[in-house]
Symmetry: C2
Subunit: 637 residues, 2 copies
């Protein structure tokens, strides 16, 4: 086997950044340009901007009415009104009209009585300068409007114009080259082959750079060939202020990036103590920052936020806003290594008075966990883990107000949750649904612990043959609960297209390699119940201990040949093009505390269950029956 870079350093993130900034410091020069104020939105001021004009530019009327010479209004009173003549005693003025000598006050239109011949009567004297905006009241010529380093907002543009600052100095846009690498990478629109991947990380970086005030330029993916990588990098360093190289930063056989950067410049850090995101390279080539970023999307994102964002912020002069931190209750225990600081993506919701944080998938490749996340729970390097129920700091990537209108669902997974999440905002602006998938029993326990609003579940009571209600009564003794009826759902055995093994019933499972659901999942309990009824020992089923967290994950494993059979719902089988052998219909409902039923977002959830659009989409999917969706059964347990 060829040589690998097995040994990355494990530098703490703060130290890595400080070392990188120190290495860059001699090279970074601020570039500025002059632009028109009307083009300045979002730009960063390069120098303080001072007003050239006063605003208002002249003394002017602050109200609609008449301009008067105040001295001439003396003696007017309720009992002794004074009549003024237009042109002699007053000038009609609207707000903003100039007030020039001899006029030195304004009487509001509301206080005037019209008299004959276009005159007006007043019933009180005017005090000098009343209802007059003095010149420069708002902005005084010479005053600083904006300091240096300020990101220009819409209101600033207006004030720059009012103050006569038609042009201003701003920081030049920082240009960032984004170089994806990898022989397996193809472009969007190319034919997908057996071993190819549509390159996507660079597109995420384009957006992040743009949002950070930089000017990104994406290169086409460069194959893992030393000379090609070298010439792409040299071009990028020559023409841009900063370079991001994607992938090739770990210890793989074709990971040339670090060798290349050592040849062309100085590698300041290779490997940092964060997870995901360890294999980062911080280098300086010809005085320019070159950052090698890992290829796994979550690692790439976190390495960007930790290292690219602060350097870009120095280049652009734009202040980096920290994510707002909140305290939240953790729903599951987290174990973490002492080797690094871990960024756990969490869903956050407000249940009662508490913010609740539910950890999402932790893998570096779990890009969907970033899409779904409402924030990050940081586990510091010196912490081995956090217990369920602990208060943790969560850095929010989403506004709190949205979180307060979100139904928190923890429990069994079904595609209908996606459809409901999609419909709810339309039904009630801002209402949302956030769901974590831990199986039926896990959901009921979360509800018990006050960690969610609703728990979707499908649990067969062996004694009564009834679904769901018996579990609610048994688990929530003495509490005011309710069941929101969901859908009827056909469960069955999913097998590969054409059913090559000729599976037709549960008894056939011992001849297949099986993929199971996780403990506590209703589908797994259904299997266990059927096996028990039939007298089959779970040990006879190969793969019984291999767990997947969702119906779709089971279906995907069957389609790709990782397993030959799995239990799940028709919709998942259809989505994956599998054959489906029905073994029964079950009831998929939602447990809820009665006190939550009046919340506006729960009302929106119930309305979505009853909505015709929801029913149409279930019809398209197939495998569901809708008898009493949205019906609420109150249960005093």
């Amino acid at each position: 086997m060829s040589k690998r870079n097995l040994y990355l350093s494990n530098t703490p993130a703060e130290e890595a950044l400080v070392r990188f900034q120190a290495a860059l410091k001699p090279h970074i020069a601020v570039k500025r340009e002059n632009i028109s104020a009307v083009d300045a939105l979002g730009r960063v001021t390069g120098q303080a901007v001072f007003a050239r004009y006063n605003s208002p530019l002249y003394n002017c009327a602050a109200m609609d009415g008449v301009a008067v010479v105040c001295q001439n209004t003396r003696g007017a009173s309720e009992s002794n009104p004074l009549t003024l003549r237009e042109g002699e005693d007053f000038l009609p003025v609207d707000t903003g009209d100039p007030i020039r000598p001899p006029y030195d006050g304004v009487i509001m239109a509301e206080e005037l009585t019209q008299v004959e011949d276009g005159g007006v009567a007043i019933r009180a004297a005017a005090a000098p300068w009343q209802h007059v905006r003095p010149v420069g009241e708002d902005i005084v010529a010479g005053e600083m409007i904006l300091p240096a380093g300020h990101t220009v907002r819409p209101i600033d543009v207006g004030v720059l114009l009012s103050g006569g600052a038609a042009e201003l100095s701003v920081r030049a846009k920082s240009t960032v080259a984004i170089l994806p690498t990898g022989t397996e990478m193809i472009e969007l629109g190319d034919e997908i082959g057996e071993d190819s991947i549509v390159e996507s990380n660079s597109r995420m970086f384009e957006g992040l750079v743009r949002q950070g005030g930089g000017d990104p330029t994406r290169f086409s993916p460069t194959p893992d060939e030393y000379d090609q990588l070298k010439s792409a990098l040299q071009k990028a360093v020559r023409d841009f202020d900063m370079v991001l190289m994607i992938a090739g930063t770990s210890a793989g056989r074709e990971d040339f990036t670090v060798h290349l950067l050592r040849e062309l410049g100085e590698v300041v850090v290779h490997g940092v103590a964060i997870k995901p995101g360890k294999p980062v390279i911080l280098a300086v080539v010809d005085g320019k920052p070159v950052i090698g970023l890992p290829g796994y999307p979550v690692s790439a994102y976190l390495a960007y936020q930790n290292f690219v964002a602060p350097i870009l912020s120095e280049l652009t002069g734009r202040t980096q806003e920290d994510l707002p931190a909140v305290k939240a209750t953790l729903t599951r225990s987290l174990v973490s290594s002492l080797k690094h600081r871990e960024y756990v993506r969490v869903k956050v919701g407000k249940v009662g008075d508490r913010l609740i944080a539910s950890p999402l998938a932790r893998g570096a490749g779990a890009a969907m966990s970033l899409v779904r996340a409402d924030g990050f729970c940081l586990i510091d390097q010196d912490v081995e883990g956090v217990e369920a129920g602990a208060q943790v700091d969560v850095l929010l990537s989403r506004g709190l107000s949205g979180l307060e209108r979100t139904v928190v669902s923890i429990g069994s997974h079904d595609l209908i949750l996606d459809i409901l999440a999609d419909l709810m905002p339309e039904i009630s602006g801002g209402a949302g649904l956030s769901s974590a998938h831990v199986g039926s029993m896990g959901g009921l326990l979360a509800l018990k612990n006050g960690e969610c609003h609703i728990a979707p579940y499908h649990l067969l009571d062996e004694a009564s043959g009834e679904y769901n209600l018996p579990y609610l009564k048994r688990l929530f003794i003495g509490e005011g609960m309710a069941l929101i009826k969901g859908v009827g759902r056909v469960q069955g055995i999913m097998v590969q297209k054409g059913n090559p093994l000729g599976v037709s019933e549960i008894e056939d499972l011992p001849r297949c390699s099986y993929i199971n659901r996780q403990r506590g999942a209703g589908t797994r309990l259904l299997l266990d119940y059927k096996l028990k009824t039939l007298g089959i020992d779970p040990g006879e089923i190969s793969g019984y201990s291999r767990e997947a967290a969702t119906h779709m994950a089971v279906a995907a494993a069957v389609r790709e040949g990782g397993a030959q059979a799995g239990l799940g719902v028709l919709s998942a089988a259809k989505a994956m093009g599998l054959d489906f052998i029905p073994i029964g219909e079950e009831e998929y409902d939602f447990a809820i505390r009665a006190e939550f039923l009046e919340l506006p977002h729960i009302c929106a959830f119930i309305a979505a269950l009853k909505d015709a659009r929801f029913h149409e989409r279930l019809d398209e999917l197939g495998g569901y029956t809708i008898r009493s969706a949205g019906e609420v059964i109150r249960v005093d347990c």
Copy 2:
């Protein structure tokens, strides 16, 4: 006099919005378009987006190492290593490489020992599927990636590509016409005349619309001529989704907007109970929302936020994020009318453990108050006022983290505060200076009340003839205080260019119309001291009771002829092109509690006082002496 629209309604903002939304409801249709995922940043999904591919697309290596057939590794142990041959027993793989049958597991590179002939030795058996990312582990084909109504972020773009959603449906961009009106309005770059104003509100609206996800088109200002306004409005309504008309919404003689809107469509609301922002018109013309906005910049801004932003959010489908609310201590009492809800702009700072909110100028024309503001303190319609020291809710327009690095200064005004505010972020990234101007004595009281970090002041002790320190000792008995030395400052009489009245000393003031500073200002105390010494009664000075809050405001009033003389500093006189008669030098220093001296942003402030760039800029201004700027004198009072 011609007819005016004197009577606006006083509809509460919420009711006005609900009525407007109801009137628009039958007319608003969602428009969608398909675009490439790579162009989707910031767009709002028109429909839910589902994955077309699995990600990973195939079972693949999760680590760098070798792919093995797990069954063939059985029996390997520390005491009994097993040797594997490349091609026969293993395939070298890098992270992401496909794992195909018969291979069903990966052993990490770190766990391999190289042996002769390119073989490797292993010391443990591999468990089936170890270090293999199963197909669809991250994204399963058919799964929802994004719900409808989601604003696409950088990470979403990456995941859309990974999941094969190369195209997606997004809401079409909502087009917004912005029509400034007013005969006095000129364009940027035109010659400024006597009665003309550079039109600027439309530029603020352009930015706000753009930030709200709309597509703004600005019209050139239309003069106040009915037929011209009518044809501009008709064109705008025909070609755009929404129309904003600026100014012409109040009760002025030329305020045609409401008549025009009544002729062409339906005026739903005219006049709302918010301040600033009352004269708003909400109208529907040909099924399109047309909003008439007031001309005062603060009114315009608040009317936009209350009415345009929510309607634009309905059109674009983009969720409006509420401003984050915090509790803060109010530094001054606020009296407000029961006629409306008032939006008071406030500076916010963190002093000790408390957030402190200092009200800024409250006028509708005070656009600089919006530029300076960190947030809004809302005084509800049913509240007559709020006492100083009360806890109030502040809606923050700026991030909390920035506020925590900001030096809060309350006290006497000087231009050097602008210069320091400009320098500090350069000296220490993120450090800022926020200053409120209430005069010397007001600042010391604020410091006493724990409402600021530093109080800039210049107070002459009549008994000792010494500046500043005596006041500190007298006011803070028993407390650990310090004085940060500032600058020496020449005070003098400012008169119009050429000194037409021949003013040469304080004794000449009774022959001038004067403009004074507010009570508690050091400059006013200096005047009072001089008058007392000279035996002049303040009543002899015409305009003694006319107050301005800053040196620059005094200078502006003198320049524009509102007054003939005023006391102030040389820099202000120079900025306004006035003549200046020196009457003495005073010391302008900063009082601080000793406990604050170690704060990083205070250190940055002191560093700025000592910085050569600061001294250079003072030299340019003139009128200052720099002997011991930045020196700290600790005082145990």
